[in-house]
Symmetry: D3
Subunit: 318 residues, 6 copies
Amino acid sequence: MASVQVVTIGEAMIRLTPIDYQRLETTPLLEVHIGGAELNVAVALAQLGVPVAWVSKLPDNPLGRRIVQEAQRFGVDTSRVVWTQEGRVGLYFYEKGASPRPSVVVYDRRHSAVNTLKVDELDWDFIGQAKVLHLTGITPALSDFCRHLVAGCIFRAKERRMFVSFDVNYRSRLWTPEQARTTLLTLLKGVDLLICTKDDAATLFNLTADIETIARQLQTSLRIPNVAVTHGDKAVIVTPQGTFSQAGYQIEEVDRLGAGDAFAAGLIYGFLQGDWELGLRYGLAMAAIKHTIPGDWFIGTKAEVEGIMQAQQRGVVR
Amino acid sequence: MASVQVVTIGEAMIRLTPIDYQRLETTPLLEVHIGGAELNVAVALAQLGVPVAWVSKLPDNPLGRRIVQEAQRFGVDTSRVVWTQEGRVGLYFYEKGASPRPSVVVYDRRHSAVNTLKVDELDWDFIGQAKVLHLTGITPALSDFCRHLVAGCIFRAKERRMFVSFDVNYRSRLWTPEQARTTLLTLLKGVDLLICTKDDAATLFNLTADIETIARQLQTSLRIPNVAVTHGDKAVIVTPQGTFSQAGYQIEEVDRLGAGDAFAAGLIYGFLQGDWELGLRYGLAMAAIKHTIPGDWFIGTKAEVEGIMQAQQRGVVR
Amino acid sequence: MASVQVVTIGEAMIRLTPIDYQRLETTPLLEVHIGGAELNVAVALAQLGVPVAWVSKLPDNPLGRRIVQEAQRFGVDTSRVVWTQEGRVGLYFYEKGASPRPSVVVYDRRHSAVNTLKVDELDWDFIGQAKVLHLTGITPALSDFCRHLVAGCIFRAKERRMFVSFDVNYRSRLWTPEQARTTLLTLLKGVDLLICTKDDAATLFNLTADIETIARQLQTSLRIPNVAVTHGDKAVIVTPQGTFSQAGYQIEEVDRLGAGDAFAAGLIYGFLQGDWELGLRYGLAMAAIKHTIPGDWFIGTKAEVEGIMQAQQRGVVR
Amino acid sequence: MASVQVVTIGEAMIRLTPIDYQRLETTPLLEVHIGGAELNVAVALAQLGVPVAWVSKLPDNPLGRRIVQEAQRFGVDTSRVVWTQEGRVGLYFYEKGASPRPSVVVYDRRHSAVNTLKVDELDWDFIGQAKVLHLTGITPALSDFCRHLVAGCIFRAKERRMFVSFDVNYRSRLWTPEQARTTLLTLLKGVDLLICTKDDAATLFNLTADIETIARQLQTSLRIPNVAVTHGDKAVIVTPQGTFSQAGYQIEEVDRLGAGDAFAAGLIYGFLQGDWELGLRYGLAMAAIKHTIPGDWFIGTKAEVEGIMQAQQRGVVR
Amino acid sequence: MASVQVVTIGEAMIRLTPIDYQRLETTPLLEVHIGGAELNVAVALAQLGVPVAWVSKLPDNPLGRRIVQEAQRFGVDTSRVVWTQEGRVGLYFYEKGASPRPSVVVYDRRHSAVNTLKVDELDWDFIGQAKVLHLTGITPALSDFCRHLVAGCIFRAKERRMFVSFDVNYRSRLWTPEQARTTLLTLLKGVDLLICTKDDAATLFNLTADIETIARQLQTSLRIPNVAVTHGDKAVIVTPQGTFSQAGYQIEEVDRLGAGDAFAAGLIYGFLQGDWELGLRYGLAMAAIKHTIPGDWFIGTKAEVEGIMQAQQRGVVR
Amino acid sequence: MASVQVVTIGEAMIRLTPIDYQRLETTPLLEVHIGGAELNVAVALAQLGVPVAWVSKLPDNPLGRRIVQEAQRFGVDTSRVVWTQEGRVGLYFYEKGASPRPSVVVYDRRHSAVNTLKVDELDWDFIGQAKVLHLTGITPALSDFCRHLVAGCIFRAKERRMFVSFDVNYRSRLWTPEQARTTLLTLLKGVDLLICTKDDAATLFNLTADIETIARQLQTSLRIPNVAVTHGDKAVIVTPQGTFSQAGYQIEEVDRLGAGDAFAAGLIYGFLQGDWELGLRYGLAMAAIKHTIPGDWFIGTKAEVEGIMQAQQRGVVR
């Protein structure tokens, strides 16, 4: 198996969504998608042509196999997934709302197999050959076990001089702001790229300025060289190579889940190209495309992303 | 069987709707819902925890059973429905339009079983134990027979000192404004709460002022103590306890049918709580939620209604 | 408009069927088909290339238009349908069973527009140019009005020397055997071709022999020159040109409704070709094909019918 | 709330099934049903007109509400369900096979809320007013906690002189034959009606004779007065009132899950009527109907059951 | 076969569209529609009551039959379609986008049967009896063969003194602006009505003024008596009878394909009524309705079109 | 990229199938699958854990990408697919019949990109590292170009001492028996394993004995060391290591397409394990499973195949 450039580690779940705008109480059918922040990033990167692996732990049953197969479809390397006869596949139910009815997420992810994943079960020879390790703040929120997993992963990655990317992704259903802050302040030492929404910055770190200022404050206080902050369709990244910011797109929203992960993938793509500004532009375009596609995943080609970026394609081309 | 707090009486129909935005001429599939103003109100009230019964007359066939079963699903007491071997279940076809193509309703409700329902077939011992009887202006429009039914129901209810709520619900497909006015002017004597849209007030009673003025004019001219008037997302209610008004919500419309009935349910809920202002706020929030759900029915919990009211829930919570 | 060879007169309904094997009480979706014995025959004949018209009375609404459009799709001439602003489109709900649960038909066809169709509303100049008029025993069962319609049609047809074909099609949900017998004994005078199932012959005429004997008994007692009797996959026809009989096909049943009408179409096709034996073989093959198609209608080409007849096509050809 | 005649206690789950014959790895949609042996029995009894309650513990989320609402739809009393903010709703994935590919059940029911249900949380004043308590061998297989729950329920029921019905329902995915035997031998003391398949009798109790002999052996060895044993479409029951046996129906199988529970419901119905033979006949007819309906639930009326029993309804009636 | 008033000639294709907003790479199901500019016009005209034929060449297989049957459904005369045992039915895949993701059309129309259609295969006795021949700029873009076909059709039509209508419909996927300009400059001699979008006028003829000016410039330079130019919801037509212009409708877009063809049908309808202004108003209303219906076809009645035009129907009428 | 053990070369198409048993003329939706004999084999082998690549030529559009992505889903190596900007993706429409209506395949595969694939475009360094090259008799039937492709592939493979497997797969829609015989007699020199149905042996080689005799006759006359012949659920293989035969399974057929390819995959798996008998047993079990799954592809695990083989799994396990 050839080496990959990026590895992401985390949980992926089966996502179940009512058809139309039906409610979970009454829908006769549920659409099946796969979601999980780290896998979402891997799937998006794979479609840009980046060799990428996603690592996790899954039960050896049809649900576990489904997750791996769907990832393989887009070319994600899943050869290092750890299989187990124990545990379950995490699930979540996503009911899409319409204003003023909020969308509802019912998590059913406790006791999933990833909660038993140990750092030493991972193939660090394989992972260590990659340039980038991407993690998120969801994993440490899952359990004490998972918090140790993330800490261990960052440690191992730094030993191997990998570039560590970390998306805050605060989930209020999983832990409190206090718990999150305490844990993240420890974990984030060693991180090379931090991605954070303006809202999470306010909730966790009490930062409420404009996004560029917030990014600088996070850069300084956490001593992280590269920090990206997003707000709606805007994003900024402060780096040693300079500060880049851009506004996004007019979006007709079909499904917003996973848009942040598509953004992260674009940013990492830019890093791999040695061009943060390109990454920012890719990230915003990919997030915009993601908004228009049912499910958690960006589905598209590099040519489509660039087409959006150049605003050259409008309406129907025929 | 324990007593209930609210009884609604009227026809419920099977509603058949094309999938997507297809036309009735071409759709391969029809979605099945249940609709009927009085049952819609009962279903909404039941979900707020109010003991409520819906009374009607239905043929003993799978379509009749479906209506009762769907109502029972949400906890509506259907034990006093009168079953018959004659007649049919009313139907209506609802084709959802998109601007500028109007939505189309094809009624196929003539000769339905409810047209043979007599006041004396109803279990007035049961009904009379409730506090509130809710009726609408649709029933007297169905047939002469039904007009007598409604008159009889109001008479019996007043005998039993019930609070009578009445939603005008003018339907131009069923009768003319003249017919409606003549009938309603007689029926509305004895009503305790009148609900009317601004458009219906103009069509039937030639009232064209702002909604608060209209409500007062109706209160005075018809000698009804409590009058609510709605217009778009706004509503006002004039009562002996005071006048209350409120604007509604920014709504992303999925299906508008039944929104007025959700509003009526909220108002009645407020009355039962002894708080018209609360009722108005519940009504507007419930109508807003209804707009986001396919079918005629409000589906939700009291907690969700209050969440909307407090504007505390925005976007996806996860 | 050019003249046609066959005219059929009768009611067509919207048929609504649950998806899968779901029950009418619970199915979330209903499939939409069109059914009506006389229209079914016309649709099948049109696909064999026979110029054919179907005549009825329909309300001018989307449901009425749907029926006409679906018939036109297969080339049936609907130019003589009488349109009205009154009445409704007949409906029936068909729930497909599985052994031992019987299939259920809930008729909702009363008060449909066809019940107001008068003989004189029909364009007899147009109809009279055709060779064959096809009617069924369903129409006289609908109402007194319709019984007179059928009697009038047969009278007018005989005046114009048309060949009158009549399919007994006894429906126990519409009338009793006694009512049917009395009516049919009168109507069938003047009929040139009678089609009857073995079961209907037993129920209505108390004939219980083998199908060939039954056919001869009907031929003699009713003085009808051509009589076809069917039983399961077998059929016989006795005619002045001789007696022909044939066994049918091994059938994997998808939807049995309309198979008898496909048989009648085949028989009439044979008559038009001057070959009753050919008609019998076409009829059985078309009935077999119909059993494999969802909905009431035979859908196929003459080449397919002949392919089945020659047993030349087996399995997948690729 | 009025008293009920039958109470069933156990877990109900959301069942998720691929459309068509698709595999869990690839299906784009999952059908949503509710399943759980004890609730299945309650739903079937309610449709026969028997006042029946189902008791369990559920999390207060849309999935928990869905289970209760679907049960209420058919008239099951769910007023004594215990609601919790903890735990999850059990799920199972059911992939329908086709010979020789076996159907697959993937259970995801661990850590469900019912595992924290204590005997003392139940409303024994309510339950004790019923005549019959129905339990199954699935519940004690779920956890030690649940085993104690079942033991406690039987004890409380006997204190209240309830008739205890128990369906063995051995599930090899939940425990071994040894575990099941040990537990059941203790629990079954106190049971008044035992229902067991021939296969389970062989697996758990090493009994391999004809079903009547097996029933007698179980009756004697376990000192249970009434024992029913089923095998395929046949069933026998030995009781102090006599031994009754019957063969079942030719079945076109649509969905076999829940057929045993429909049988149990019929048997209990017979007991309530004081007629075990009637119960046996109802049970077999209801199991046959269940086989023809997607999902775990018998859906039908007493009239339909009796129609099947009298073999009076065949094919399509129209 | 009676004569028709309008004949359109061109290719029709099977259109395949993912459900929801899914991508072609992942959708489990494709919706089936029929599309082709000239057939789209015929289908719309037929629904206005205009006798109209569509002529083309199709392979005699189920896909070819489907196109003809769907057209017949709406009353289009297809009796002059040329059938062949060679060639294929053209297809196109249409993936609906959402901003900023553009809609995608994947044409798969090469080698379709229409590419072998010769002028002499057409029944000019039939065609020549019509008043109007409608063609588009798509056909000459398909192949050299088709360019000759169009040239020949215009020549034959002019011989027969038909009124020739021509919609530019530039398709960048089929040819370059240069190729289109060269071909069209030749073909358009002899055309009586030209329809062109503002964008096509810019791309092909370098005209960039307001739409009325563009129309006049086209009228003058191409010597075409009647020229209509559209832009978004606005349209203008310059004719010897005068210049007419109108703005369109606020549109909630469901499916934009075919809207231009609905406009063309309205314009031709106006011409047949001898009233260009009426035609313009019909065209804009029909285009607006088309935008609200899935598929390429206008589906509606003249009454609906006029209802829209009179703005008398708003929202739900019930 | 690591080396693979098996390479298959050939065309894969988008397969479009009506829902239910609907006809191509009327189905509103088409299911999307991928089919192509050589890819079908690769997909099945990949699921057994065999490293396998499929090589072909595809246009770089969403349809081409879909084929590759679906293959990757199951782990097939598609890195050597040749991409082009020209040509189209082959399609076929598969309408499932029901007795006596035959299933219909409408091929629309002409002019597909694979028809321009040249031997030298393939990466023979990559292919040559594999043990087995699998080809079928479909490819040479596509065009002269493709016939040369196959000849060239066999030549290159033999140069590299690969084991060449060849499945006859005669397609009467693509060529005549004479054409096929002439071509195959040349191509089959150099083949190491021939797979042929009894029917194809009769059609092409005039061999009509029992399958073992046919296999020996083919072995002798064509000088192919290993020959497998199948008939219905039976199969035999004659090899230098001995002759093995086996009967298959009772099958409930859901979709028969691709079953032969699943058999071929099992046989090749056995070869790789050095055990032809095992291969035969795998092949029959995999073909049986394939029959139960919609689409052309075997979907399952080695454990499932072995479970079927050991007849240890029956009915529902839960």
